[in-house]
């Protein structure tokens, strides 16, 4: 597969390490959320057959974490963003 890195352009997916669903961005706050919230965050997945937002890490590259929107049936990639930007947009800070 080829991932169109937002900074570096097309790069072979072999350079990346896959983590999983981009919902892993939405980590609850450990001081306020309890086991149930963390359980849902860490373990349950929508796992769609179709468009899927997912986290890839450019380990053999610029070490950026990316959010890749990819179809899990066709493997077509329609969007690639820096995960940091996505995380900020979702309100994550410090």
């Amino acid at each position: 597969m080829i991932i169109h890195h937002p900074i570096l352009g097309p790069r072979d997916a072999q350079e990346f390490v896959y983590l999983g669903d981009a919902s892993l961005i939405d980590r609850p706050d450990g001081m306020t959320a309890g086991v149930e919230a963390f359980h849902d965050y860490l373990y349950n997945r929508t796992n769609p057959a179709g468009e899927h937002q997912e986290l890839w890490y450019h380990e053999q590259g610029d070490r950026s974490w990316l959010v890749v929107t990819r179809n899990t049936v066709t493997h077509e990639i329609t969007k690639v963003e820096l995960a940091r930007d996505v995380a900020r947009a979702r309100g994550r800070t410090k």
Binding site: M1, G34, W65
Partner: protein, 978 residues
């Protein structure tokens, strides 16, 4: 009998003669020959035996689709089983042997299977061999396994090298027949970067096998001229002997280049084959078509082959397959064979045309509405029996029969993303369907465009479309004959066996039986009868099989559908796929800064991931590894020992939020750590299980240096980047690995400080550099770092210098500290000392254990949010009776312990219900004079001081042990603070 069947013409170099042997007999051929063409030129038709019935077989094709003519090529370590004689290029000295026969190809004792074939119907083995139960493994299966298989494998290492590479282009053209050449020419002249790959050693595709003209010249000459023009273009890369074997996601194709297979052996240093990964957003599949046979009784004898191949052997290789030849066809292409052969002066005795009506061929006995219904000839065809339209049968003596059942477009590559081909009734074949690999177009016969003109036109047009060009070259004149075919899949007449899959011996009867037993899905048909599962993957047989099933079930051919086309297009050598990653080069080595010193000393090394670490350093006279390790431990505890710990991961963490960041990623607190101090840190995964541990030092207000375990250096770094970029993107934190930048040595033992004082420039007294101190120092003016940390329980430091000085630092410490008799210790002694101290490492950091399990539960701060803090509190992880880390020593000091042994209470049987846990790590402690171990024991913290047993049922060991604190040596820690 030298080249008795050679006729005029062809693209072989008759000025040179090549010598080769088949089954030990010598033959001759010419450059340009394949093994099959050369054998046929020598009158040899019998080249193999079938898989199940061991029927005598000759080639049915002249290409990579060949199911029958499989040989063991070359000898010794280079022996290649199942090599298709039809594509093996002849070279001088070639040695080939037939396979899957005993004692010889002509007299194969397993031929008895053919006589008993009625007992070996499809799937018979599913219905028997079940009694008595034990006989399957003991009797039936061993017989079957010995009989099965095709060629044999050498046990020697393949002496040849393989290579890999990456190529990039604007357009990949797969196949260099008329369509591919035209596509490449169109793109090449437009200045695009083009790769044209063809599996053959000569480009031109079918043009090399045909006699008709393209433009003003013979097709083969036009091809040669076009290749010459392409090779003059710097933007075009021509790759002969290169088969594109797979289409993967996003325009990545795999291709195998056979660099040296046409040579006796590869030149020194040169690879046998290269696996190319070709990156091309656009590609054109111009892979042509494969002729398919018609199933009729005994249609598998040597001498019966595809009509187009019969023609190819005559036109391209100057070989007549027989003296008296007939053709059996359901389409016009078969007619072409008869005409070409006649023109070559070969005796064409009949054309058996299953179609009714139309013009009769002049000068040839052309029987319309006729069928071949049987053949004879024990080791090769001697005659055919035909049935004419009027029902009359007749036997005709022939020694070669060309069969044409029509042509199947080679849709395989286009179907590698599971696109299903669609049936085109006009050509009675499947053509590429929709949803093929994005960017892949199809042209020529692969697209069902069967005439030369159509191939040229669609090749050009595909290139124009793929690259958004406006024009292309003018098309040369070429034949544009329509496909005229009346489908005939199998001859209904006759009660004998009519082969569909020749290699696996699947006949029309087997398809009928599958239907009778309700295995009617094509997938069931394939799996039940093994149709299409042979080395040719059904390239010639599959479509016939499914057509027969369609006929039997009354479904249409499109409704019946095809099975799935999977990579590779043709089989690929494992060596090619592995490339250079084999033997010692399987993975790169990582060498420590002290590697060369250790090698000088005759050290023993151990693989730790890709690192080679010193395991121990034997001294003269030491014959057992324990002698060396015991000495290293005792010497360290007595005076001072040095160990290379460079392999531990080091991560530089800087930024104004570095401390806050560490508080998030570590279970314990780091923001409060004073500058110039270090602290042991415990890192959890989000699921609350311990991920990693190490010491992290605060080198400045906003600057920390983290250490990780050797094993987790990469994954911890990745995790930190995740936390930094994704979870807390606004933190001011920067990370960089410095693992290899610093050579780091542990210096441990009562004289550690004394030794170091002789090499460092600063005061490192206990006051100036207290326990858990950290800081930048110098060594003879050289920048260095010092950490006062201990993994051994001794007064210990870790000292680091830039890696290039690591070797010298070690030698300097040994020399300047000579009065303290320093030794260098390896990972074994390191393990002994850490286990004596109860420090967790690999065996305990197993990804299944919590801080609580390790006796470190208090380190998980609940006053702050950190990764894993919340989920570490789940009930299953906080169970009072869960595993706790304990120390273990045998009651009898002579008794031996084994890591991996399990705990049992005294008197308890060795069953799971009594399983108390296991020993995670074990060493011999020279201080305690016995084996000691760490272990995870259920409620172990409450069992300190008790006696239990540990058992190793694999070795029959059952040992009484005492459960002790994991801190087995200097539990008060007086030595390390000394």
């Amino acid at each position: 009998m030298s080249q008795s069947h050679r006729i005029n013409g062809g693209q072989i170099d008759r000025s040179k003669t090549l010598h080769f042997t088949f089954d030990g007999l010598p033959y001759q051929g010419h450059p340009g020959d394949t093994l099959a063409s050369a054998l046929l030129a020598n009158g040899v038709r019998l080249m193999g035996r079938s898989f199940k019935y061991h029927r005598p077989r000759g080639p049915i094709s002249s290409g990579s689709e060949e199911p029958n003519a499989l040989v063991e090529l070359r000898t010794d370590g280079r022996q290649e089983p199942n090599t298709r004689a039809t594509v093996a290029e002849l070279y001088d000295g070639l040695t080939a042997n037939s396979q899957n026969r005993w004692p010889s190809l002509r007299f194969d004792a397993m031929g008895i299977n053919d006589k008993l074939s009625t007992f070996f119907a499809a799937g018979f083995y599913y219905k028997t061999f079940m009694w008595p139960k034990s006989f399957w493994e003991k009797l039936y299966e061993p017989i079957i396994r010995r009989a099965a298989g095709l060629g044999s494998v050498t046990r020697e290492e393949d002496p040849d090298g393989y290579d890999k590479g990456f190529l990039h282009c604007d357009l990949l053209v797969i196949g260099a027949g008329p369509a591919g050449l035209m596509a490449a020419l169109t793109a090449g002249r437009a200045g695009k970067r083009v790769i044209l790959a063809d599996e053959d050693f000569r480009m031109g595709g079918r043009l090399n096998a045909e006699t008709f003209a393209v433009g003003d010249s013979q097709g083969a000459d036009w091809a040669a001229a076009t290749v010459a023009e392409l090779s003059s273009l710097p933007n075009v890369r021509l790759m002969t002997r290169t088969t594109v074997v797979g289409a993967f996601d996003h325009g990545i194709y795999s291709a195998v280049e056979r660099v040296s297979d046409h040579l006796p052996t590869p030149a020194a240093g040169k690879p046998r084959q290269i696996l190319w990964r070709i990156y091309s957003a656009k590609a054109i599949l111009a892979g042509g078509a494969t002729e398919r046979p018609i199933a009729f009784e005994n249609n598998d004898r040597p001498g019966i082959m595809m009509a187009g191949s019969l023609r190819a052997y005559a036109n391209r290789w100057g070989v007549k397959v027989g003296e008296r030849i007939a053709v059996f066809t359901n389409n016009d292409d078969g007619i072409r064979t008869a005409q070409d052969l006649k023109a070559k002066g070969v005796d064409v005795v009949a054309v058996i045309d299953s179609r009714e009506g139309g013009d009769l061929l002049p000068g040839i006995r052309h029987l319309q509405g006729a069928e071949v219904i049987d053949t004879s000839g024990k080791l090769g065809l001697t005659s055919i029996t035909i049935r004419q339209a009027n029902g009359r049968s007749e036997s005709i003596a022939v020694d070669a029969l060309g069969v044409s059942g029509g042509w199947n477009p080679n849709v395989n590559i286009h179907s590698h993303h599971r696109s299903r081909p669609v049936y085109d009734a006009a050509i009675a074949a499947f053509v590429p369907g929709k949803d093929g690999p994005p960017g892949l177009l199809v042209a020529g016969a692969a697209a069902g465009q069967m005439s030369t003109h159509a191939a040229l036109r669609t090749g050009r047009d595909a290139a124009i479309a793929a690259l958004d060009l406006t024009t292309g070259p003018d098309l040369p004149q070429a034949e544009d004959a329509p496909v005229r075919i009346t489908p005939l899949w199998h001859v209904a007449y006759g009660k004998g066996r009519a082969w569909i899959d020749q290699q696996n011996d699947v006949t029309v009867k087997d398809v009928k039986l599958a239907k009778q037993e309700n295995f009617t899905s094509v997938e069931h048909l394939k799996r039940y009868t093994t149709l299409g599962m042979a080395t040719d993957q059904g390239k010639t047989g599959n479509v016939i099989g499914l057509a027969v099933m369609a006929e039997l079930t009354g479904r249409s051919i499109p409704e019946t559908g095809t099975t799935i086309y999977r990579p590779p297009y043709t089989p690929v050598a494992m060596g090619t796929l592995a490339g250079r990653s084999r033997g010692r080069e399987f993975k790169p080595f990582r060498l420590t800064p002290s590697h060369h010193w250790a090698k000088e000393q005759g050290a023993i090394f151990v693989e730790v991931g890709n690192w080679l670490r010193t395991q121990w350093v034997p001294k003269a006279g030491e014959t057992e590894w324990r002698q060396s390790v015991d000495r290293e431990v005792l010497a360290t505890r007595k005076s001072v020992g040095i160990c290379d710990v460079t392999t531990l991961g080091k991560i530089d963490i800087q930024g104004t939020d570095a401390g806050a960041f560490l508080d998030k990623v570590y279970a314990n607190t780091f923001s409060t750590l004073a500058v110039g101090k270090c602290r042991y840190g415990l890192m959890l995964r989000e699921d609350g299980i311990v991920f990693d541990d190490g010491t992290t030092a605060r080198m400045g207000e906003h600057e920390y240096v983290m250490t990780t375990t050797t094993a987790n250096a990469v994954t911890v770094f990745r995790h930190l980047e995740f936390c930094r970029q994704v979870l807390w993107p606004e933190m001011d934190v920067q990370l960089i690995s410095t693992t290899e930048a610093w050579a780091q040595f542990s210096v441990a033992g009562p004289n550690a400080r004394n030794l170091l004082a002789k090499v460092v420039d600063q005061d490192i007294s206990d006051t100036a550099f207290p326990y858990m101190g950290a800081g930048n120092i110098t060594v003879g003016g050289l920048r260095a770092r010092l950490f006062r940390i201990s993994f051994s329980g001794e007064l210990a430091y870790e000292i680091a210098v830039p890696t290039r000085y690591g070797d010298a630092l070690l030698r300097e410490m040994l020399a300047k500290g000579a009065e303290y008799d320093p030794i260098v210790y390896g990972t074994e002694a390191l393990g002994v000392m850490r286990i004596e101290k109860g420090h967790v490492a690999g065996g305990e950091l197993n990804g299944q254990s919590t801080a609580l399990n390790m006796g470190l539960g208090k380190m998980v701060s609940k006053k702050k949010d950190s990764i894993g803090m919340v989920l570490s509190q789940r009930e299953g992880l906080t169970d009072e009776t869960g595993y706790r880390l304990v120390g273990v020593k045998p009651v009898d000091p002579q008794a031996k312990l084994t890591a991996g042994s399990h705990f049992l209470e005294k008197g308890a049987g060795p069953v799971a219900a009594n399983d108390g846990g296991w020993l995670t790590s074990k060493v011999y402690s020279p201080h305690l004079g016995c084996d000691i171990a760490l272990g995870y024991l259920k409620a172990g913290d409450k069992k300190i001081g008790q006696r239990m047993r540990i058992v190793n049922l694999l070795a029959g060991l059952d040992t009484e042990v005492e459960i002790i604190s994991p801190h087995m040596f200097d539990p008060e820690g007086e030595r390390l603070r000394g």
